[in-house]
């Protein structure tokens, strides 16, 4: 962390040297951020193109609804665009980006719950969706994928996020703690519980293999 605090000035110098270089996509996150902070707005595009798929995947894992992914991802990057001038390199960019994504997703989940609670139409839609999912004919090879996605959706949000971050995104406990804004011990505890819950959901799949 202390090393990353020393990055900016070094990166500024590097950025100044390389601002004329058109191959921005090869620059590190820190260089791109420094360039952006010094007025090179084009650098933001490279950050978006570098991370948008990871952000979209994370959102997709959390929601399992492709229709909401792009909207939320755009909201996330708009937030990043607004806050990036104040980014102080105290954490890695992608950890920071993931934290924004998780927070935004949490907000959306809350709103979604509220909408479901207050909207009769949403309740009817949900029951229809549930019914449709039961009678839908799933191809043999898609069965495992469907089960995994549905299994994740059955987990409460506070258990869903750690298992996604660890087993799908492959982050470390420390990174997860930073993203989830909690202690590493809490991360370990939640993750073990989430895995246990998932184990029960995926039992048919795991036992068949």
């Amino acid at each position: 962390m202390s090393e990353s605090k020393n990055i900016p000035q070094r990166m500024v110098n590097q950025a100044v040297v390389s601002v004329s270089d058109s191959s921005l996509d090869r620059k590190s996150d820190d260089v791109l951020i420094t360039l952006f902070q010094s007025g090179e707005e084009e650098a933001f595009r490279y950050l978006v193109e570098r991370y948008n798929q990871r952000v979209r995947n994370l959102i997709y894992s959390i929601f399992n609804e492709s229709s909401v992914v792009d909207d939320i991802a755009q909201e996330v990057f708009i937030r990043v665009y607004e806050a990036l001038p104040r980014f102080r390199f105290e954490s890695s960019f992608y950890t920071w980006l993931y934290r924004i994504t998780v927070n935004k997703s949490r907000d959306e989940l809350r709103k979604k719950r509220a909408r479901k609670f207050y909207s009769l139409h949403a309740m009817l839609d949900a029951s229809n969706a549930e019914l449709q999912s039961k009678i839908r004919i799933v191809p043999e090879d898609g069965w495992a994928k469907e089960l995994v996605n549905k299994g994740l959706q059955q987990l409460p949000e506070r258990f869903r996020v750690p298992i996604i971050l660890k087993d799908i995104e492959g982050l470390s406990y420390e990174e997860m703690a930073e993203i989830m804004q909690c202690e590493v011990g809490t991360v370990k505890s939640r993750l073990s519980r989430a895995r246990g819950m998932m184990r029960k959901i995926l039992a048919p799949l795991l036992e068949a293999q």
């Binding site: 978006v48 894992s61 792009d70 505890s189 293999q209």
Partner: protein, 479 residues
């Protein structure tokens, strides 16, 4: 490794899977796995689960993501600033503070309810008065259309205007901070205040031709203003402009300002001899500080404040009067104008007869009436303050300043005093100013030192120049 709880086992399995156990713990757990094949199988399931999750397919890439995002960013930048002057994250805090503030104001309002109720009641009354267009319904006729300059001068000196020559009635006005505004309709008192003419006045003060001309000019201008100040309504109503009560003093001050110092002194002496209730101070008037209007309803343009009297009520109201229309009406109803004196006299008698039953729409209005007078007193804080930009301060002369009939009725000694001393002193009639001290006969027990009144204000200061150019207010009483 001894047996462990399910929770502990789950946590250890999870840590083992992530290779997060230290060497010692790892070795102990591996021993445990060897001894418990079902737990080893469970570990295998967890590993499979992890593989399944890692192999989970993500969403299809969106090639247009950046284009869509950049469009939204542009829209975002073109959007107007947020309605809140602070960051969105402070909105809940601001909302909480607003609720607390609203609760505080609510409690305060409940505590101050009586005051608030009174305030709202007064405001309501004011608003009602403001739009009381029906008080002065029908045609309006200016009451004083044919005043001559002598009568205007009488008004300046005594605050009186003739109403009905036959009935010998007059309108008297006065305004002071102490006594408020007073308007009285009563018998005239020529026996104690002989009529004064402009010629006589100018002769008394030894006015130069230029000064005579100035006085004439002031009186002419004042005559027009007086004409716009008292109206007789077709529906038996009478409206007197609130500022009329101070206009006589303004006139006196302006006349004094048009004179040189010797004439000013003679003017003072003349006021004393003619038993004017006023005199003026030969010194620049103190700077007038108009009080702040306070929580009053702002007067709409064109509205003037009048004291409006009907047989049933008496109120202070804002009235919009179209003078041009009134003058046309007056021209059309010449016959009505001829009988106006009688009508006015009859109306005032009716006011006096119904004085006790008259509804006072303002608590600060007092009505006094008798067989030969009808008088209204308005508290000084009710009427809208207007700047009294007079060059010289005009003050009341005590004790002879008692000029209102109702005051005389309340003070029989003074009435007696005036009745017994009804004739002016000879030297006044002979145009010779009194010298030294003029004393009332000792039989009445009163000694009036005229010098103390007439010569009290010494003229050490030069006469201030009249600032004719500055006309700050569109007040009909401003010269």
């Amino acid at each position: 490794m001894k047996s462990i709880s399910t929770r502990e086992l789950r946590k250890t399995l999870s840590l083992y899977l992530d290779d997060a156990l230290d060497k010692e713990a790892k070795a102990r757990f591996e021993e445990y796995l060897a001894a418990n094949p079902e737990i080893a199988r469970e570990l295998e399931s967890w590993k499979k689960q992890q593989q399944v999750l890692r192999s989970k397919q993500g969403i299809e890439p969106n090639e247009w993501f950046w284009q869509k995002l950049s469009t939204r960013l542009e829209q975002q930048q073109n959007k107007p600033e947020t309605v809140f002057p602070f960051s969105r994250k402070y909105v809940p805090l601001a909302a909480s503070l607003t609720v607390v503030l609203a609760a505080f104001v609510g409690v305060l309002l409940i505590q101050q309810r009586p005051l608030l109720t009174k305030y709202l009641s007064e405001k309501k009354e004011q608003v009602q008065q403001l739009y009381q267009g029906n008080i002065l319904q029908g045609k309006l006729l200016p009451l004083f259309t044919n005043l001559n300059k002598d009568q205007v001068l009488q008004f300046a000196l005594f605050g009186t205007l003739p109403l009905d020559v036959q009935a010998k009635t007059e309108l008297r006005v006065d305004e002071s901070k102490e006594n408020g505004t007073r308007i009285e309709f009563a018998k005239n008192e020529e026996q104690r205040r002989p009529p004064v003419t402009v010629e006589q006045f100018c002769k008394e003060i030894s006015a130069t031709p230029a000064q005579h001309k100035s006085v004439d000019s002031i009186l002419t201008s004042a005559r027009d203003k007086i004409q716009e100040s008292v109206f007789l309504g077709e529906n038996k109503s009478l409206a007197v402009h609130a500022d009329l009560a101070k206009f006589n003093r303004t006139m006196m001050s302006r006349i004094a300002a048009s004179l040189e110092l010797p004439q000013q002194k003679k003017f003072q002496r003349f006021l004393a001899m003619s038993r004017s209730p006023y005199t003026f101070v030969i010194a620049p008037a103190p700077a007038v500080r108009v009080p702040m209007p306070g929580p009053r309803i702002p007067r709409p343009s064109g509205m003037e404040q009048f004291v409006v009297i009907t047989p049933d009520s008496c109120t202070i109201a804002h009235v919009r009067i179209d003078l041009q229309q009134i003058q046309r009406n007056a021209a059309l109803t010449a016959e009505e104008a001829r009988s106006m004196d009688e009508r006015t006299h009859a109306l005032i008698r009716e006011f006096a007869a119904h004085a006790n039953a008259q509804k006072r729409m303002n608590s600060s209005l007092s009505i006094f009436s008798g067989s030969d007078y009808y008088s209204i007193k308005v508290e000084s804080n009710v009427l809208e303050p207007t700047p009294d930009a007079t060059p010289f301060e005009v003050i009341a002369r005590a004790p002879r300043a008692v000029q209102f009939q109702y005051e005389l009725h309340q003070m029989p000694d003074i009435q007696k005093f005036f009745n017994q001393d009804s004739q002016p002193p000879d030297h006044f009639m002979q145009n010779t100013p009194p010298s030294g001290v003029w004393r009332k006969s000792a039989a009445h027990g009163r000694v009036i030192d005229l010098d103390s009144v007439v010569n009290a204000p010494r003229d050490r200061n030069p006469r201030p120049q009249m600032d004719q150019g500055k006309k700050k207010y569109n007040n009909p009483f401003e010269l």
